[in-house]
Symmetry: C2
Subunit: 229 residues, 2 copies
Amino acid sequence: MARQLFELYGTDPARVFSPFCWRSRMALAHKGLDFDSVPWRFTEAARLAFANYDKVPVLVDGDAVVVDSFAIAKHLDAAYPDAPSLMHGNAEPYAFIGAWTDTVLHAGVAGLVVSDIPPLLDAADSAYFVQSREARFRKPLAEVTAGREDRLPAFRASLLPLRHALRGRDFLGGAAPDYADYTVFGGFMWARSVSPLPLLEADDIIHAWRERMLDLHGGMARRAPCFGA
Amino acid sequence: MARQLFELYGTDPARVFSPFCWRSRMALAHKGLDFDSVPWRFTEAARLAFANYDKVPVLVDGDAVVVDSFAIAKHLDAAYPDAPSLMHGNAEPYAFIGAWTDTVLHAGVAGLVVSDIPPLLDAADSAYFVQSREARFRKPLAEVTAGREDRLPAFRASLLPLRHALRGRDFLGGAAPDYADYTVFGGFMWARSVSPLPLLEADDIIHAWRERMLDLHGGMARRAPCFGA
């Protein structure tokens, strides 16, 4: 059986927008591993029963069923030690980078683009998404993103640690990308896949890094459907 | 010649308060390496001419003169590969943790405690410190920290990535501390060494981690002079 990555989709069968799925698809590409992307939607929890999980990404790799993007990255390094390494034998510091990405980058992106997502989903998923996210934000999604252009400077300021970390090197991994880059890049691919809002200014060192990330692995991310941002 | 670490001091010959010096002294303890702490003060740049540098920490280790705390950590791993590792052969992701610490934790701590520092310095250093920091903040230091109790909740909220990263494990390094822990811990030792302000609430997972850090290496950090915070 071919390697399968269950990923979140909306109505467009080519538009992967989950930041966590982007972490895993970039990680697979980094290892040089082919995979079939299996479309999964928010309301299809039952289809992941085999994995005893209710979220994606889920990787089916031979006999291994691996849930959670971080666990998938660890699995790939353990199962394919001869392929280029993602975390170089020590996953611990990458957990901090994941924690920053989840709590700062993703939280910031959500507040800027969450209202762009429902139109990309089918009716059942859209209803689920709006209800669950409005419960989380405690307000209508249109209110969450209202005035977002005015909040871009504060969002960009929140990326200062990333900006500092990129000083003097091409990737968070150093001369070459590693799982630190894929972890953070997923957040930008999420925004790019669902929203026309330009998150970054063109003279931002983060913008140049994102361009390099888009070019990796034969331009895999650059070719993905986006709104031009 | 014994190993020497040039560190920042004020008038108290026991009170090391630079967060970067704390990174290096904890790193040396982690490696099990003795060192003599050489007191250095802000206005003694000329005494570092041998290192072609104007800041501390500076490590003199046999024939090696190493400046900058991150470079010191790399040097220690390279020079003492058989001692417990600080960065496990891959320093890159630790640079991100350093960038977060410098731009979020240190910036937050500075805004809360900077006015507590001048009384700990001798006259020449105090004048230098006040002048240079007021230029940086563009206001008197007493104004920088005014109303600081009211800003503690926002400061604590800014530590959310650290809080998430510590979930389910004792240290950022996993089951044992590594240079990720020492990098962040330096910021807390800076605050603790100069100010009575209680940065953390007692039920914060970060507080429990800081307690564990204070106990490491025979309680080296816990024994250091502090204001009880």
